[in-house]
Symmetry: C2
Subunit: 458 residues, 2 copies
């Protein structure tokens, strides 16, 4: 039933194309199985219902919660059914490997993304990428298709950084960009007694292999392909079905703490105050103005007052986050500098002034993906939808591929999501686009596998 | 030891004056006993240590917590030792009554304030007023002094409105300004399962008498005098020892809820956003500008984002409080109107806009106290410190006296507090000023008692 319902939702064109046996690989993914698997596994962490339909909920599957552990154990079982070799590293990253026909010891061509979500997230961000990879492996297995080189799937731990505040956390450790000790030590934002490592151990996902790309101690990859929803409105507005991602914009996350002095709101003249709420508000407004000036993004997603705050007391201090993004690193830095200068002026502006301090929590440089991988995706997209239905894009969000690209050829495939909405319960990618993205992933990795062969044959 | 220490801290002038037997009543309060009692009872709820000294902490004695219940039971025992009749009403307001010499059934002349504090409060706000009243009763008792009319003490419940968010809550119910059902139903700001009534009942402070000024069912008062720290810098800066309070400024508390839409910060262009954090920040900045324009006060003490907020997600909604104050009601209303108009403009300003809603939580009109009561305080102050050492002031904060003044002659006495700081752990009123304020309270109620006699003799 469910499967048929989904099939009916596929647009005739997409259906014909994605199910066409005339594709480069000669394989076709099973879109019903893909969608049924995706929505069934989303029962682990389903939350924030917005409609009556069986799949009309968002997700709250935070990293290494019980629900996340359940879907991880399920994934391990599924890939083992496909005779994949499963390796788990010391950050809980899950690697599933299907042998290639050459029996080469070279690192596998990986298809990776993440199964964790935001607290008010959707059903596609990350999840689609992992389950598309599973569908590709299932399709190859059932057709007895072997790639030349080993191929496999990766589920990266704590990509969202929502429960343990470090985004793309474990691909960052794998890439050597984040010290494993600091990642292990990240604490649950609502329970300082719980660390990422203690949760890895509690659920049995603290693996044997080092979390590293080092062939000697870790788990190197031959390439990394990631299918992901766009999370923005560009493809939809341009009327394109596939986004070939050339790279990712740079971004920096800062935490700013503004210290004032608590005082009675009724008896303390404005001139006598040290009001951190007023100052923080001005800083947030200023950061928005600076971002606009540079055509960049500046966002405050978290803002906290002391629990003891009350209506008739000027708060003692305020903490807020600042997320600055732009495709060019120099612009990201310029926005940060200009914001901090503005904050320093604002701190002196009202009453007796406030003091402020800031920390850099995440620094993700702008990235350009690998030309060979990009070519493999371009060829797949042209084959499936024609040259006029795909476009090149730059990722606005950070992804695990940003870190993998430092140590292996990497590229990403975007598919449209409704109104560009993500990190929201109503995040939605149509069954047709999920299927098309998955077929594109399959064709791209097959294309890349062939070029690996050609290159090694040289 | 402790007592002597305090005595040494008394300035020679204040000591001579406040201990002078040449005062109008012929009585002198015991400043050592007053201060020792104050600091000993502040061990119930002491918090936020800021120095090494035994009394160098603030207070966190929120309404009807276990610590508040302890000091209440202690107070009941102390006034019973003085042969006072104790009555507790259905809001837990505590009335202690000492018989006057005339045996008149007329309502007592009350000395009242509150024993509850802010979460990060000090040792004097409210507490001084109640313990000064106790010291006055003790002094009269030990000297066998009888007023003509009954005189007594009141401890008003939940004046701060910090735990159960309604300030001057129970004097408001007593005055008929707040429906008792809504006051009973107030929930603990951190635990919706706990109500003010459930805590009254848990601690045995849900009394028999109606919380009302109605002689038939409640507990009417003949007059209400309240000693309180100024909570502002005016007396200190003017070099005055006593503030004769002519009235209180009006204020309104609003809660504003701004609704946007959560979205990914990296992939959602500014133009496509509905960002409630940016809008709320602009609203707070705007309210400050409007208040400055009118010479009024506008303050945001509480600002909350959803618990699910994260650095790379635009929040779904923001709630913040707005506290508007001015001695003239028309200015308070004008500031509110202009703020709401500004908020409406701001809501349309950025991206796809936000929506906002607001509620009026507290509306306290400007108040003018009773001339006879004010005269009684003026005469006491002139007698104790001389005409050039006291001044008339308007209260910037709300007080229980604001509500009692609606139904009985009322006045207040202010004493300086260091740097005008209150609602802060370091809130400080010198032993000399505590003693002087208490002596002024004693003289004021004796003066008033005599005028009651004269008037009834006419």
């Amino acid at each position: 039933m469910f499967g048929r319902t989904l099939t009916r939702e596929l647009s005739p064109t997409a259906l014909r194309r994605s199910l066409s046996t005339a594709s480069g690989s000669g394989l076709k993914i099973n879109s019903d199985r893909l969608l049924e698997t995706l929505h069934r596994t989303c029962e682990w962490g389903a939350a924030h219902r917005y409609g009556e339909g069986p799949t009309e909920t968002g997700m709250a599957r935070l990293c290494l919660t019980d629900d996340d552990a359940k879907v991880r154990r399920w994934l391990q079982g599924e890939v083992e059914k496909l005779d994949c070799t499963v390796t788990i590293d010391q950050m809980g990253n899950m690697f599933a490997r299907q042998r290639g026909s050459l029996g080469s010891p070279a690192p596998m061509t990986a298809m990776g993304s993440h199964l964790d979500t935001q607290p008010r997230g959707g059903r596609y961000d990350g999840i689609l990428g992992v389950l598309a990879a599973l569908e590709v492996l299932r399709t190859m297995k059932e057709h007895g298709f072997r790639t030349n080189y080993d191929i496999g799937l990766v589920n990266w731990t704590n990509e969202e950084g929502a429960r343990f505040p470090k985004s793309m956390c474990s691909s960052g450790v794998w890439a050597g960009a984040i010290p494993v000790e600091s990642a292990w030590g990240l604490t649950d934002i609502f329970n300082p007694a719980v660390t990422l490592r203690s949760e890895l151990e509690r659920h049995g996902f603290f693996g044997q292999v080092a979390c590293s790309n080092d062939p000697a101690t870790g788990y190197p990859l031959g390439a990394h392909f990631e299918l992901h929803i766009e999370q923005g409105p560009i493809l939809e507005e341009a009327g394109k079905s596939v986004g070939v991602v050339r790279g990712a914009q740079g971004y920096r996350w800062l935490t700013i703490t503004v210290a004032g002095r608590d005082a009675h709101t009724g008896t303390t003249p404005l001139a006598a105050r040290r009001d951190p709420v007023l100052a923080a508000s001005k800083m947030i407004v200023a950061s928005n103005a600076v971002a606009k000036k540079y055509g960049a993004l500046a966002s405050t997603g978290v803002l906290k007052l002391p629990l003891s705050s009350s209506t008739n007391t000027v708060a003692s201090d305020v903490t807020f986050t600042l997320d600055i993004r732009h495709p060019q690193d120099r612009i990201v830095h310029a926005v940060q500098e200009e914001c901090l200068q503005a904050f320093a002026d604002i701190a002196r502006e009202d009453g007796k002034g406030v003091s402020f301090d800031w920390t850099l929590d995440t620094d993700s440089a702008a990235v350009e993906f690998d030309e060979t991988c990009i070519k493999a995706v371009q060829d797949a997209a042209t084959h499936l939808v024609g040259a006029n239905k795909w476009m090149e894009v730059t990722s606005g969000a950070g992804h695990d591929s940003v870190y993998t690209s430092r140590h292996c050829p990497t590229a990403m495939i975007f598919v449209p999501c409704k109104e560009g909405v993500s990190h929201h319960p109503e995040e939605y990618c149509s069954p047709a686009d999920c299927a098309l993205g998955t077929q594109t992933l399959l064709e791209a990795v097959v294309n890349y596998d062939r070029t690996r062969g050609e290159r090694s044959a040289l």
